[in-house]
């Protein structure tokens, strides 16, 4: 069994958006294909192209069929290392390629090794770029990939991109190159407009999935929804809840009406509640719904009395995942009561509702597994969650006021309650202004299945607010007691002791996020020397310098990347690493756009293993050592 089973596994795909729900080290979860039968379409990949003696040929055919059962990249990578013959066969039969860092390998190299790919996942910028820590136009361009794949993979069906930059031209090329194209998933991407979308929706007649979660689309006047072809579509999933563009509602309504397979629909806030009503009435089979604004009806909506919103929701018997509420008017919340009992996922993280309004919803959601909320629900709201949602697997609590030094509505009380009420918890992201070690320790004991633990105490260097101690013991308990933990984000006042704990006990940790923490190089050394599975390490504003950096030389080739910004690195230290590890691309980014790095201090170090050598599309502020 592959390691993938350690991660969140939701076969029904109840996630809101692939970007934020899955931990970054995991491939997007897809239902695994049914076992192939001889003579089925799957065997198209089995046609061997190299001649060999008869008995070898038989073995190869057997191998090809066996390898089709391997879907996870990690398993396939392992298989390819067995022997040359296995390497060849595996390469010919791999249909899904996962590229965790777009600069680690060139497009040509991928298409040469894997000639028969149907699905591609490519990730670009590192996560800290989301928080303005990376200057604009750093890179991560889809252009070179679509150009190469367009020629090499005419039968490509699926493209999944995360934190990449695409242009309209790239999308046009995609639409022109892949006649059988079925799924486009763009997460946290940008660089294109509605014209690019138009090319895709009009030319890709077999399009099943168009998912634009958290992707920025600029409005260039083209009404892309109207460009879906006439007649029935294959659409199963249409997600555009974060797209800030006006929508032609008539076109949308017509599209939904002629998409009988549509199961997932997430609307942006341009869609009013009245329009939502009409869409729901024509699509009662939806399983995933993003409600759009959910505010007061707009002038263009028909008379209020005619709309029985509650009935519309009741009619959606299959609804399991609800999100949206982008401009919610709490008066309309009761309309969703009838579906609460069926919900496994609920995202209220854009809805500023008060405690009572929240409680009236959550007390009915006893099947809930995934919940995203704002901290405006207070500790009291979280206690209500703990009382009802015994099956909760994932919780995210976002801040209404993302600032330091303000009063926070949630605290250790909420965290403790959740730990006591939700023992099956696997993933948590919790923003707060105050926390205690005791509550974190309690969670480590009560929730042994935790895979992802991300605690963000928003005030920098904040200690345990009751004891005044650093938060070392709390995080120490998490790594010690949560034996399945693979992703950790730490915050608050932290000394090197916390890092000692992580290095000592965090043996499965793959992703670690550090900010404003630690005392000295020792802290980082503990982690680099103690965590053998570490893949992604992102650090900001922490007192780690060159001595710590070089202590990780033995491990950097095993990592996806290392990010260190505003630490205490010098150019010299980074140079030393670059010299020692020639296959590592060591990028120094400068925050001063006009000045090249003349002084010795390093603003940002971003380094990653790469087979292709230094990239040729680096902007001015990037120096590659």
């Amino acid at each position: 069994m592959s390691e993938n089973n350690h991660h969140l596994h939701h076969p029904q795909q109840n996630h809101f958006c692939p970007a934020e729900t899955m931990s970054e080290d995991e491939e997007p979860s897809r239902p695994s294909p049914p076992p192939p039968e001889l003579g089925s379409k799957k065997t198209r990949n089995c046609a061997a192209v190299h001649p060999s003696p008869h008995s070898d040929r038989v073995l190869e055919i057997v191998l090809e069929h066996v390898l089709q059962f391997l879907t996870a990249s990690r398993d396939r990578n392992a298989a390819s290392l067995v022997s040359k013959s296995w390497y060849r066969t595996e390469a010919l039969t791999r249909s899904d390629v996962f590229i965790g860092n777009c600069y680690s390998v060139s497009p040509a190299r991928v298409t040469t090794r894997f000639p028969r790919v149907r699905s591609v996942v490519i990730k670009g910028r590192p996560r800290f770029a989301d928080f303005n820590l990376m200057p604009q136009n750093w890179g991560g361009h889809f252009g070179p990939w679509v150009a190469t794949m367009g020629k090499a993979y005419p039968l490509l069906e699926r493209v999944y991109l995360k934190r990449m930059s695409l242009t309209d031209r790239d999308l046009c090329l995609l639409a022109d190159s892949f006649t059988k194209f079925k799924e486009l998933v763009l997460v946290c991407c940008e660089g294109f407009g509605t014209s690019g979308l138009t090319a895709v929706v009009s030319k890709c007649r077999q399009l099943r999935v168009l998912d634009l979660s958290d992707t920025e689309v600029s409005y260039d006047g083209v009404d892309w929804i109207s460009y879906f072809p006439e007649g029935e579509t294959c659409l199963e999933s249409l997600i555009f809840d974060c797209v800030e563009c006006p929508i032609n509602f008539e076109a949308l309504e017509s599209l939904v009406a002629r998409s009988p397979a549509l199961k997932k629909l997430r609307l942006n806030r341009e869609v009013s509640i009245g329009q939502l009503y009409r869409l729901m009435v024509s699509a009662p089979n939806l399983t995933h719904l993003g409600t759009g604004a959910f505010g007061h009806p707009e002038p263009q909506d028909p008379n209020n009395q005619e709309m029985d919103y509650a009935a519309a929701f009741s009619a959606c018997k299959s609804l399991v995942c609800l999100s949206g509420f982008r401009e919610v008017m709490p008066d309309y919340l009761p309309a969703i009561y009838s579906v609460c009992a069926n919900l496994t996922s609920l995202n209220l993280s854009y809805a500023n509702i008060d405690v009572e309004q929240f409680k009236s919803v959550i007390c009915q959601c006893f099947k809930l597994q995934i919940l995203w909320v704002l901290d405006s629900v207070y500790d009291e709201g979280l206690q209500a969650v703990a009382a009802t949602c015994r099956d909760l697997r994932e919780l995210r609590v976002f801040p209404l006021n993302a600032q330091e030094d303000v009063e926070g509505p949630v605290s250790e009380v909420g965290l403790q309650a959740i730990s006591e009420g939700c023992p099956k918890l696997e993933s948590i992201l919790y923003f707060c202004q105050r926390m205690t070690n005791a509550a974190v320790i309690a969670m480590s004991n009560n929730c042994p299945d935790l895979v992802v633990f991300r605690l963000c105490i928003m005030g920098r260097h904040q200690p345990d607010h009751i004891t005044g101690a650093p938060m070392d013991e709390g995080f120490g308990a998490i790594v010690m007691n949560c034996k399945k933990l693979t992703r950790l984000a730490i915050s608050g006042l932290l000394t090197d002791r916390a890092f000692a704990y992580i290095g000592m006990y965090g043996k499965l940790v793959r992703t670690l996020s550090v900010a404003f923490a630690g005392d000295s190089d020792t802290g980082l050394k503990y982690v680099l020397e103690g965590c053998p599975k570490l893949q992604k390490l992102e650090i900001r504003d922490s007192p780690f310098g060159d001595a710590a950096l070089v202590s990780g030389l033995h491990h950097y080739y095993n990592m996806r990347f290392l990010w260190m910004s505003t630490c205490q690195l010098s150019r010299q230290g980074c140079q030393e690493v670059a010299r020692a590890l020639p296959r590592l691309s060591v990028e120094l980014l400068s925050y001063e756009e006009n000045e090249k790095m003349d002084d010795d201090t390093v603003d940002v170090l971003y380094m990653y293993r790469s087979l292709q050598g230094p990239r040729d599309d680096a902007p001015q502020f990037v120096t590659i050592l």
Binding site: F128, D130, F131, N132, L133, Q136, C188, E190, D214, T215, E216, E244, C245, P246, E327, S349, Y350, N352, L374, F398, P399, L400, A402, Q403, E404, D405, N437, M458, G459, R460, H461, P463, T467, G468, A469, P470, G476, A477, M480, N481, L493, T495, D496, R497, Y501, G503, K507, F516, D519, S520, T522, K525, Y526, E529, G530, S551, L553, H554, H555, Y591
Partner: protein
């Protein structure tokens, strides 16, 4: 156990670990070497940490390990807390009851994951380090002043005269008084490379043109005042 491994074990095997772990306090801290060229034994670890062995709960605030490090200033910092701009903007918009204030980031113009950086370096004459702040975090000169005051307050013994809004350029004398009175004033370098007094121009114009901030002694800023004086005269 050798060298730094011993150091780590000493550090963690301490006295009162109030973790409530299964396995009791005799728990073996077996540190597994990760395999590879370097292990703990080869690393010189300098445990200069001033930690008390006992993690006993106490009401006393624990100071950071290095007493020379000044307490962190609580001004807004780029990208912290780590909430994506899109989310921040949407929620901020939802908070507003009325839309009488014309904000740049409204419907249709919300910045997504890659909004541009507008942060600037802030230096203060005599202070040992620089700070960086993102101007878009503040909405008024007062907010900026307060933040700067907090950031650098510990270095001034005298008055940090905050400019509460636009300087009254109509009154030349008032301006001179201001500069003579204050120990420190804020100045900024604009897009043309000129150094100006903070408070000249409307806020939006200021954040669009400010490249760098410098807090200097009021007496030194007199040299800048002529520009301000010119503007006064111009309007007169």
């Amino acid at each position: 156990m050798e060298g730094s491994l011993k150091g780590a074990v000493d550090m963690l095997a301490g006295d009162e670990l109030s973790l409530g772990l299964p396995g009791g306090d005799g728990a073996k801290l077996d540190f597994v070497r990760t395999g590879g060229k370097r292990g703990f034994s080869e690393t010189e670890v300098n445990l200069k940490l001033d930690l008390n062995g006992k993690e006993s709960p106490s009401v006393e605030k624990v100071k950071p390990a290095d007493p020379a490090k000044p307490p962190p200033a609580k001004a807004q910092v780029v990208g912290w807390p780590p909430v994506r701009s899109y989310r921040k903007n949407v929620i901020a918009n939802n908070n507003k009851n009325s839309s009488d204030q014309d904000q740049a980031g409204e419907k249709g113009g919300l910045s997504g994951a890659t909004s541009s950086l507008t942060f600037v370096k802030v230096s203060m004459d005599g202070a040992p380090y620089l700070r960086k702040i993102e101007l878009k975090m503040y909405k008024t000169y007062k907010e900026l002043s307060d933040a700067l005051g907090k950031m650098f307050g510990s270095f001034t013994t005298g008055n940090y005269e905050a400019h509460q809004g636009m300087i009254d350029f109509m009154n030349e004398n008032k301006l001179k008084d201001l500069l003579n009175r204050s120990d420190y004033v804020s100045t900024y370098e604009d897009k043309d490379g000129d150094w100006m007094l903070v408070g000249d121009v409307p806020w939006e114009m200021f954040i669009a043109s400010c490249k760098r901030l410098r807090i200097m002694k009021g007496s030194e800023a007199i040299g800048l005042a002529p520009r301000a004086m010119e503007k006064c005269k111009g309007r007169g």
